[in-house]
């Protein structure tokens, strides 16, 4: 069972040969043209890495595959690269360009994985590239990429600590991030790179507190630990001086003198931010993750007022049901806590009872805690429990129990005698370790009151012959010597016996024999002089130099001769000095110098990178540093209120709700906020008591409101909507959202406002009816990415004749697809014109050609003459190539294909005119295509141009200051390429210009615009 097995493979000559063959073989496989062979080779290589075998020779062959299309192959190459890049730095550089390219990929997950691998390659040369990529990724739109950037910060820091200053800048930026995805990772980076820069936290403190519940569990642990440290530097102690840790002093509180002092001193008022932290961490005690529960517990331990501490007890006790290793850590922390505050765990004493199946270290910890919890009231229960443990088959544990009994006996004077008697009974135990331990403990106990217990000492002298454990023998000898005056007859006899067996004793026993001899020589030299000299002579020639030294020392000290100086005069005082009784205290006494829940606490010594928890400041630093100025456009009264921390105690749910609202309003489109769902369902369930219809309508209602809320926000960001008409409408909208908020607030608050809520609801419904008509057109023109025009015409996918009664039509909805960012959304209308019901209508899995299709849910049954509308998504990859697939019913399969018009492969975007011209100027040369056409007279009006263009292509209209130039903007669905279209009218001609990187698409679009604008008709 040692490390000997490690070299088995290397030392085996046949393996070296075999290994050479194997590597050669793998190399051949990697260089083949077949994907499957390469994959197989990579799998074997990863197998070698997992076993710890060296596969670095294959580096050149592997790195070639870094740009492979096969995702699994690529991932395995990444694994290999990260493992060996450090050893093969030059070759590793070959792969860098692949990652740099991927960093620009439109797919956020590809960007993220590229950054992940790039930052994991520990090659110092690429530090500048890494730095640049991190900076870029930290401003990425996708929170997932930003999270990866936060991870990369730590990697770069460990590779090159000189980058610290730049990295701190990035950390500062990411700390401001509002996404829950990023929060945990960036705090982790903060803790690793610059834990001392506490000033970076101020402005983000309240945000972090509020986000905490929604952060993933690992992030929660890191954030809670960081906030604990932060709070200890920023707030004043909530532990009042007169009632600090000790519970006993709480009694003193009622003394009249104390009371007066309290009255005089200024009452302590907790900083609202301090309260915010405690309040927002409390629900996390219910987490399934034991690390989170422990983190919150230590936060309460270090930050909460003492009377609030009790809430963590139950959760900690719950953790004891978890795995053995979890129990171990939790018990260690409870042990430290229970020394200072017995009261916390006393009601749960029975949870610490030992089971025979517990591991030894768990048993000892439980024993430790039980001992800490012992007091006058419960000692009899605990001692009864201890009696069971003493009989345990696990002798080491039985010995530990005896020590615990000793501790109880010294701490609680009422039971000292009982314990002592119990321990004396144990002296007749058959097991040696038990007896030995009892002797040692009795020795300690007797030291406190020796005079009353000479009979016990006598009893032990009788046992002496039967005890073989050296520590116990030594203890008895020491007792004899120390209290020889109490047992004047027995002690010399014991010494006589020892003289006989001296040579065969253990060192520790020999030393005590010498001691005993010396002490007897001083008190009773008549009887023992010869014996002592005999023993000293034996000791003089002993093998151990400790014993030889001691003998020499003792001889000089007690036997007077001419050489010995002044010292021998004091021999009696030196040897027979009264010795203080040993204090039996917990091994966890000094552990509270470490923050609970840390590795250092567990080891009871400072671990690398341990950050000391500072003492409370005497005076709180400036509180205003945490105030965040909400940057808000004028005329947003609703959001003005939502400053965090301003919350009133009673209505905290309302302030949190506002927080969430604000979050949502500012978060990007792709993160559909769960908090909004939560508030929806919550407001909903309040109402749904009887009528489910009503509740569902209220849900869609509230959804609508959310949207308008967003719209309003958008509008505020666009200062150029100066029309008075609009601002009038915006005002109405604001009133509406305000009522909506009020509604939420009320539904959250107490029951007694239910009645007044009703009346408000009526008012609100009335207002909604009033404004609904106006708000609709507001939305259409303001929604940033909604289509300007949605064609109603549908095209035929499957005729009812070919489809044996099943007919299908499709149309492009021009909405962003909900199934995937790069998909075009389609609406399919299926109707059954046969006279039989059709069953199980679905799209076959296997048949799609190249394109990625999101299928609709299978329709189980379609009655005759019925029709159903479903939606699906197709990733056309920005090409007009038709998507072919099989539409299946229970009996049949029909091949169908959807050929998208080029204009449907776009999504509209909005931008300002200035941005448009700026972007346009970037896309010149090859990226520009234009044509001149002659317009038909009826098409000249700006309205008709707009209508024609947007009906051909799904583009957004850009407001234009020149009347004769019309601008449109969009992006391709799959790759997100910008497509800019401008139509300049020069009566009777018109110039159409299209600027885009996708030139194929440009030429197709151009052709279609030409036909549309030259044709007359609608």
């Amino acid at each position: 069972f040692s490390s000997g097995y490690m070299n088995v493979n290397e030392s085996n000559p046949s393996f070296t040969l075999f290994k050479y063959e194997l590597l050669k073989y793998l190399k051949e496989m990697l260089e083949s043209s077949k994907e499957s062979l390469k994959l197989e080779a990579m799998k074997r290589i990863v197998g070698l890495i997992a076993k710890g075998k060296n596969a670095s020779e294959l580096f050149p062959a592997v790195v070639k595959n870094v740009a492979s299309k096969n995702i699994e192959l690529k991932k395995l190459v990444y694994v290999y690269l990260v493992r060996y890049a450090e050893e093969q730095q030059d070759l590793a550089l070959l792969s860098i360009s692949t990652f740099q390219r991927a960093l620009k990929d439109p797919n956020q997950l590809i960007r993220a994985s590229a950054l992940r691998v790039l930052s994991s390659i520990r090659v110092p040369i690429i530090v500048p590239i890494m730095m640049l990529s991190i900076k870029e990724a930290s401003t990425d739109l996708s929170p997932y990429v930003r999270k990866t950037a936060a991870h990369a910060i730590q990697k770069l820091y460990s590779l090159d600590p000189d980058q610290k200053e730049h990295l701190i800048e990035v950390i500062e930026k990411l700390l401001k991030d509002k996404s829950t995805l990023v929060a945990g990772s960036v705090v982790m980076a903060f803790e690793e790179v610059c834990p001392d820069r506490i000033d970076l936290i101020h402005k983000n403190y309240r945000k972090l507190c509020n986000l905490l519940v929604d952060v993933e569990e690992w992030g929660q642990v890191v954030i809670i630990h960081m906030l604990t440290r932060y709070a200890r530097t920023q707030f004043v102690s909530p532990w009042r001086e007169d009632a600090v840790f000790d519970e006993n002093s709480e009694k003193a509180f009622y003394d009249s003198e104390e009371e007066r002092r309290v009255e005089q001193s200024k009452p302590y008022i907790m900083d609202p931010d301090h309260r915010l932290l405690l309040r927002n961490t409390k629900p996390l005690l219910q987490s399934r993750n034991t690390a989170v529960v422990m983190a919150v517990s230590q936060l309460y331990w270090h930050l909460a007022p003492t009377h609030e501490l009790s809430i963590i007890t139950k959760s900690l006790v719950r953790l004891l049901r978890s795995h053995r290793e979890v129990q171990y850590i939790v018990l260690q922390n409870i042990a430290t806590m229970s020394i200072q505050r017995k009261g916390m765990f006393e009601p749960f004493m029975k949870s610490f009872y030992v089971r025979s199946t517990d591991a030894t270290h768990i048993k000892t910890l439980k024993l430790e805690i039980l001992t800490n919890l012992a007091n006058e009231a419960n000692i009899s229960t605990i001692l009864r429990e201890f009696q069971t443990y003493v009989k345990s088959q696990d002798k080491a544990f039985a010995a530990a129990t005896i020590q615990a009994i000793g501790r109880c006996a010294t701490n609680i004077s009422e039971v000292t005698d009982t314990c002592l008697n119990g321990l004396v009974l144990l002296l007749s135990n058959r097991d040696e370790t038990v007896v030995a331990e009892s002797v040692v403990v009795i020795k300690k106990l007797l030291q406190t009151q020796p005079s009353q217990h000479s009979d016990i000492i006598k009893h032990m002298a009788k046992l002496f012959d039967n005890i073989t454990v050296s520590m116990a023998r030594a203890s008895i000898l020491w007792l004899m010597g120390e209290y020889c005056e109490h047992v004047p007859k027995i002690a010399p006899d014991v010494l006589r016996k020892m003289a006989k067996t001296f040579t065969s004793e253990e060192d520790i026993v020999k030393l005590q024999t010498v001691n005993l001899a010396a002490k007897l020589y001083l008190t009773n030299s008549k009887q023992t002089k010869l014996l002592t000299q005999y023993i000293l002579n034996l000791g003089k020639y002993d093998q151990s130099y400790d014993i030889r030294d001691r003998t020499r020392f003792i001889r000089q000290l007690i036997v007077p001769n001419e050489k010995s100086g002044a010292l021998s005069k004091y021999a009696r005082r030196i040897l027979m000095a009264p010795k203080p009784a040993p204090v039996l205290q917990s091994a966890f006494k000094d552990r509270d110098r470490f923050q609970l829940g840390t590795l250092s606490h567990s080891l009871n010594s400072q671990a690398n990178g341990y950050l000391e928890l500072s003492d409370w400041p005497a005076v709180a630093p400036d509180q205003s540093v945490r105030i965040v100025e909400v940057v808000e456009p004028a005329g947003a009264p609703v959001f003005g209120k939502s400053k965090p921390g301003k919350s009133d105690e009673k209505f905290y749910s309302d302030s949190e709700e506002e927080e969430e609202e604000e979050e949502e309003g500012s978060s990007s489109e792709d993160s559909s906020s769960s908090s909004s769902e939560e508030s929806e369902s919550e407001s909903e369930s309040e109402e749904n008591s009887d009528d489910s219809n009503k509740s569902s309508s209220s849900q869609s209602d509230s959804e609508k409101k959310k949207k308008t809320l967003k719209n309003k926000k958008l509008q505020q960001q666009k200062p150029d909507s100066k029309d008075r008409y609009w601002s009038h409408k915006a005002l109405l909208l604001i009133i509406r959202t305000k009522f909506f908020l009020m509604h939420i607030v009320l539904s959250f608050s107490n029951q007694f406002v239910a009645s007044c809520r009703c009346s408000l609801l009526c008012l609100y419904v009335f207002l909604v009816c009033q404004f609904d008509t106006i708000s609709w057109d507001v939305r259409v023109s303001l929604q940033a990415s909604s289509p300007v025009f949605v064609p109603e015409t549908s095209r035929e996918l499957l005729h009812r004749m070919t489809g044996k009664g099943l007919s299908a039509q499709y149309r492009f909805t021009r909405q962003p697809c909900i199934y995937g960012n790069s998909m075009v959304s389609l609406q399919l209308t299926l109707s059954n014109s046969s006279d039989q019901a059709l069953e199980n209508i679905h799209i076959s899995e296997k048949s799609s050609t190249g394109q990625n299709i999101h299928r609709f849910n299978a329709i189980e049954r379609l009655e005759p003459q019925a029709s159903v509308t479903v939606s699906m998504g197709v990733d056309f990859n920005d090409s007009t190539q038709a998507a072919n697939f099989q539409l299946c019913t229970k009996e049949d399969e029909f091949s169908v294909s959807i050929q998208p018009a080029v204009g449907e492969l776009l999504l509209p975007i909005t931008m300002s005119e200035a941005d448009f011209t700026k972007e346009q100027s970037k896309l010149v040369g090859m990226n520009e295509s234009s044509a001149t056409i002659t317009m038909t007279p009826e098409n000249v009006s700006s309205q008709s141009v707009n209508r024609k263009v947007v009906s051909v292509a799904n583009l957004g209209v850009i407001p234009s200051s020149q009347e004769n130039i019309h601008r449109f903007a969009g992006k391709t669905v799959s790759s997100g390429c910008l497509v800019l279209v401008s139509v300049a009218l020069k009566d009777p001609d018109a110039v159409i210009t299209i600027n885009t990187e996708n030139t194929v698409m440009a030429s197709m679009l151009l052709r279609q615009f030409k036909t549309a604008l030259t044709n007359s008709g609608p």
């Binding site: 053995r324 199946t357 369930s685």
Partner: protein
């Protein structure tokens, strides 16, 4: 945080290593082997071991040591919890977490470990997300894969990680929508010689198997939520609603997961379903002993007790047992000194009894302590605490799901001292 991971089997063979930062030589494990040797029993290995330059935090599970290497201060529970999560993921993927399954699926194991940690910090630990990234192996798929050379890595990139509901994968579809909840309660108890309860509590969990399409929003309510005074939840549960209304409101992950666990410590609430009458004695002379155990029903709420097993860890001096069981079978393993009496269903009319003699090693002193009995049992259709699910409501989706609740009571750490 977590620097490297080594997997070591019970025999001390290091069979897998993975590094998330630069490579740490496996010789660091020598410190672990030293501690392992000192501990004798694998359970006694200290979870945190200090070496001159590193700290080793290890867990022991399914006969495998997961040894992680740490370089700087980190909450130890963070690492321990993560390592258990790794083991659970393996179990989830391969059906069991054992040396042979890990060796057989070493590539998937490596891919999983790669996704679960980035630079030592947990990245994706939710099973829903991992399964989108890396498909679990099935016999059919591995056969197809070997023939066609296709892979286990998901073609589509997961979207779950990006949403604010990171535990649920997107685009879930089922033809049969169903949600099952298992309320499983375990009784932890210590009974003393006379049968009085020294200590008893209930540990309950609600396991869920939810197969619902789309994004369902579920609300589970109880008849008697007041029973639950200490609970812990899956991250999907909304704390605030529990605090204010005592209902469990959540958007579930797809598939199997543990919704919540709870703890009922009030001793008067804990019913003890069986009583044990036992008499174990060892004689001073003749190196033999007697054993007589009878089990009977106590508070079973009218249900049948099944799967009754009594396990006794005998003292080392007991060589063999010559017993007679009126019901079930018994088996004494003289190597591990464990006596197992498998009773099965408890018949209240005819109480099962195990009686006979034990033979001890001759000359050895008689054991001073009688061994304690560990009881295992199962009661179907009963939550011993009396907890009852009231109703399950679904919002957000139109279809009608099939709903089911099952109750089971088991013995947890149920010990009778003798």
């Amino acid at each position: 945080m977590i620097h490297s991971l080594f997997l070591i089997n019970n025999a001390g063979d290091l069979f897998l290593e993975k590094h998330w930062k630069s490579v740490i030589s496996r010789s660091v494990c020598d410190y672990f082997f030293e501690a392992r040797e000192k501990a004798v029993e694998p359970d006694n290995v200290p979870p945190v071991i200090r070496t001159p330059h590193h700290y080793l935090i290890n867990i022991y599970r399914e006969k495998i040591f997961f040894v992680s290497v740490i370089q700087t201060e980190v909450p130890p529970l963070f690492v321990i919890e993560f390592l258990h999560r790794v083991a659970e993921t393996f179990q989830d993927y391969f059906g069991e977490c054992s040396e042979s399954t890990i060796k057989d699926n070493v590539v998937i194991v490596y891919e999983l470990l790669e996704e679960m940690l980035d630079n030592g910090f947990p990245l994706a630990t939710e099973s829903n997300i991992l399964k989108e990234l890396i498909r679990p192996p099935t016999i059919l798929r591995s056969m197809v894969n070997t023939i066609t050379g296709s892979s286990n890595v998901g073609e589509t990139l997961p979207t779950g990680q990006l949403s604010t509901i990171p535990w649920r994968r997107a685009g879930v579809k089922y033809t049969n929508n169903e949600a099952y909840f298992d309320v499983v309660e375990e009784i932890d108890a210590i009974l003393d010689k006379s049968g009085t309860t020294v200590f008893a509590e209930i540990q309950g969990v609600i396991d869920a198997c939810v197969k619902l399409s789309g994004m369902p929003d579920l609300t589970l309510s109880f008849m008697n939520p007041r029973l639950l005074d200490d609970v812990s939840f899956h991250p999907c549960v909304r704390y605030k609603r529990w605090e204010s209304e005592r209902v469990i409101s959540f958007v579930p992950p797809d598939g199997n997961f543990q919704l919540m666990s709870y703890h009922i410590s009030a001793q008067n609430l804990v019913a003890i379903p069986v009583y044990v009458k036992q008499n174990i004695s060892f004689f001073e002379t003749g190196s033999s002993g007697r054993l007589d155990i009878t089990v009977g029903p106590k508070q079973t709420m009218g249900k049948t007790v099944e799967g009754l097993v009594v396990t006794v860890h005998m003292p080392k001096v007991v060589l063999s047992a010559n017993l007679n069981a009126t019901q079930g079978t018994y088996n004494y393993d003289p190597v591990t000194k464990i006596l197992v009496w498998d009773i099965g269903k408890l018949n209240p009319q005819k109480l099962p009894n195990l009686k006979g003699s034990l033979s001890l090693q001759s000359g050895a002193p008689k054991p001073e302590e009688n061994p304690s009995l560990n009881i295992d049992l199962k009661i179907q259709q009963l939550a011993i605490s009396g907890l009852k699910v009231n109703r399950l409501d679904m919002y957000g989706e139109k279809y009608k799901p099939f709903k089911g609740v099952k109750y089971v009571t088991k013995a947890g750490k149920f010990q009778v001292r003798t």
